[in-house]
Homo-oligomer: 254 residues x 4
Amino acid sequence: MIRVTMYNEFYHEQTKENVKAIYPNGMHGAIKEFLDAEGSFEPMRVATLEMPEHGLTQEVLDNTDVLLWWGHVKHEEVSDEVAERVVRRVKEGMGFIGLHSAHASKPFRKLMGTSSDLLRWRESADLARVWVIDYAHPIAEGIGDYFELEAEETYGEHFCIPQPDDLVFVTWFSGGEVFRSGCTFHREQGRIFYFQPGHETFPTYYNENVRRVIANAIKWAYNPGARKIVTGHVPVKPNVLSPFRDKLEANFTK
Amino acid sequence: MIRVTMYNEFYHEQTKENVKAIYPNGMHGAIKEFLDAEGSFEPMRVATLEMPEHGLTQEVLDNTDVLLWWGHVKHEEVSDEVAERVVRRVKEGMGFIGLHSAHASKPFRKLMGTSSDLLRWRESADLARVWVIDYAHPIAEGIGDYFELEAEETYGEHFCIPQPDDLVFVTWFSGGEVFRSGCTFHREQGRIFYFQPGHETFPTYYNENVRRVIANAIKWAYNPGARKIVTGHVPVKPNVLSPFRDKLEANFTK
Amino acid sequence: MIRVTMYNEFYHEQTKENVKAIYPNGMHGAIKEFLDAEGSFEPMRVATLEMPEHGLTQEVLDNTDVLLWWGHVKHEEVSDEVAERVVRRVKEGMGFIGLHSAHASKPFRKLMGTSSDLLRWRESADLARVWVIDYAHPIAEGIGDYFELEAEETYGEHFCIPQPDDLVFVTWFSGGEVFRSGCTFHREQGRIFYFQPGHETFPTYYNENVRRVIANAIKWAYNPGARKIVTGHVPVKPNVLSPFRDKLEANFTK
Amino acid sequence: MIRVTMYNEFYHEQTKENVKAIYPNGMHGAIKEFLDAEGSFEPMRVATLEMPEHGLTQEVLDNTDVLLWWGHVKHEEVSDEVAERVVRRVKEGMGFIGLHSAHASKPFRKLMGTSSDLLRWRESADLARVWVIDYAHPIAEGIGDYFELEAEETYGEHFCIPQPDDLVFVTWFSGGEVFRSGCTFHREQGRIFYFQPGHETFPTYYNENVRRVIANAIKWAYNPGARKIVTGHVPVKPNVLSPFRDKLEANFTK
């Protein structure tokens, strides 16, 4: 059973009526609901901005296999210490799934080397078609050629990210934009997925396809095989010097 | 001066009035016109299906730095021998630029390992917005955030190509599709670019942005440094056996 | 349980005493032994060159999730029909794992668009160190920084393959070569892994690390989510024309 | 003529006799010498740690097309402000070439999202063979299958970098290591190349192949086409709403 934690800045759901109406238990509540029912995951832990250390203590992270992150207008209130702690754990092998405006979150920016001003956007209600680009990718399992979100915030290229390892989805927006909406990366042993849908004013996290992608992504990002990477000074091993040399000489002279 | 040859199946321009009206000298004529005027290229050579060996003799290919290819309904009439000859030259370092339905041409399919049934399409007059995805790429030089083609044939994902080296453009079509419309690949020493715009019933090859992309792509695909790749049996060189060993031993014991 | 089939040309093990001594039941026997015991796989099916249709009937392939391929000197005796059948199934989602000189096999060449003369080699007994390059990759799970094969045939760059999706391993050979020994690709819905170790005169397929990599690779290549890819003519869906337009106009004028 | 600036921390050459003997005018002196003579570049500007703002004022960077960076033990003495300034200019389109231990420099780490403890190393005098991996890449132009450095510091995998856009070189070290010694990346409009050779105690920057690679890399990294990337709020353009709709409807009903 994979241990999932979700960080949610949990601000709009407490301050805006239209958001509260859609997500009465927070966006994390909507996501926890389906993940807990899916069958592959431990009950999802919740971390919010207002908790001590934003709920992301070393102990919590040490017991997290995959971290989901949703943030929008409170990125700068996340402490640098916690952001660095997340980055370190990702490099050690914890999966990281950035949802929607998490592209501008501190951990994502530190992992990618990017800034927070990364793309075009429009708070509209465009029709969004999320097209599968990589049909062989586990994150697209169970998704047809595309799925539609009747209304979403528009994000548009140019999206100032490093070249993704795999481009899983590209979204078409009715107002004329395209966006690389599903991208994988890895940093040391950590697998990272960015997934664009999820503006707070739309019921995106109740969509069956969005839920399937998030569950797929968690399974994909789970890396049970992480180990200590050896860096620093390394001597030459004796076996590189001795036994093979005779073989090489024999080989060379034949 | 880069030596460019363009293969054009040159069929629609001779058989359909509406195409002839747009391209009275063939699509190759429209492309030759601007390439010859650009200043970086030798006068463009033309090769068509009906010429002996489709105009692509060994001698022509040996004197071609970059080959443009346009074909649509006559792919199977291209001889296997000529297709193989093109593929060999690409691997030796000749650039290859596949235009529009060249994705289903014999050389492209042989280079990619793909089949001819690769994508969705619609002969419509969709508005096409060609978005720059890779702002650092030389093929996008001089192109703004995007450019528009008022009407083009729609091509849509899933486009069954291998993962491109670089994704330079993605096109938005007004009817709901996205398409990886500008993709680079390399095979051995040959640089390959696929560029989607260019349906015969639209004046696409007179568009200034399309022309700029084609000229950029030729310069990018030109590989003056190609050499003979060594394959086959290789012995061990003596210097790998002797001088370094003492160094290693000295190093190992310190 | 994943359904695995291994094709082995099964020639050296029947004709050369030194090979027979190492692999009395064929290389496929050594691989079947550990895969059957691993616990994640159905009993491995075996296909050899001399069987009717080389053991790779449509029915066998339709019931294969992942196909292993070992061939060396009998590539050209594999029928084109069977090779094409394998390629088709890979594109539909069957995993393909090319072992050692499978780089020159017909299915691999057709999938990659490569020829059979792809690399440098030396039938020697070089020490080989297989280094992990991508620590986040599931195929490297359980492998340390590197593992050693006391003696292997040397393969050296330049390896004339398309750019891999992921570079999992690079091997160091004591005689001076490096080789991209573990590479992933995908073609349509099929996941492909090439893994270099496995010359017939060395007991490579008894090595615990090699076995771990092969088992990991099968799990990675297994794609239970394959579906029919839609290609061909597609009309515009009505919802792209009507409901969103009002939204866009509302949005545009605000 | 491309405008090149080289930052060199210029410490070992002033403090260690053996380094001074090899590079009496600093490593930057050895590089300036051949770049100034090459014919494609303006006289190279020099920036060193001890200069005000390390010689990298906004004015210098604004007039630099490609920046070379050599640093080793004084990375932390580079001011954050200057490092950020360099990063910003790279994203705007200035090329960046990291030489040797520049992998641990502040600008490289900020651009990549990496830390300074990235690899194995050994201050030895291993024989290094730099193998060409990407024969189609402009940075490898004029380089044979490989070139040798009789003695270099060993760097070994795992090299904790993001997946490179292109892997141009992999180096074989006689003591048993491999290293991705030539890697390209891009960040927004800036092209980045990391090149491993160049330990201060060896005359590496006099080697003809190393010089050829550096000159090639500068030409490749030079991006004359950089423009302002549009980010932030974007409205829908009227033409996306009106003219195409009739076309689409006509198309839809036919």
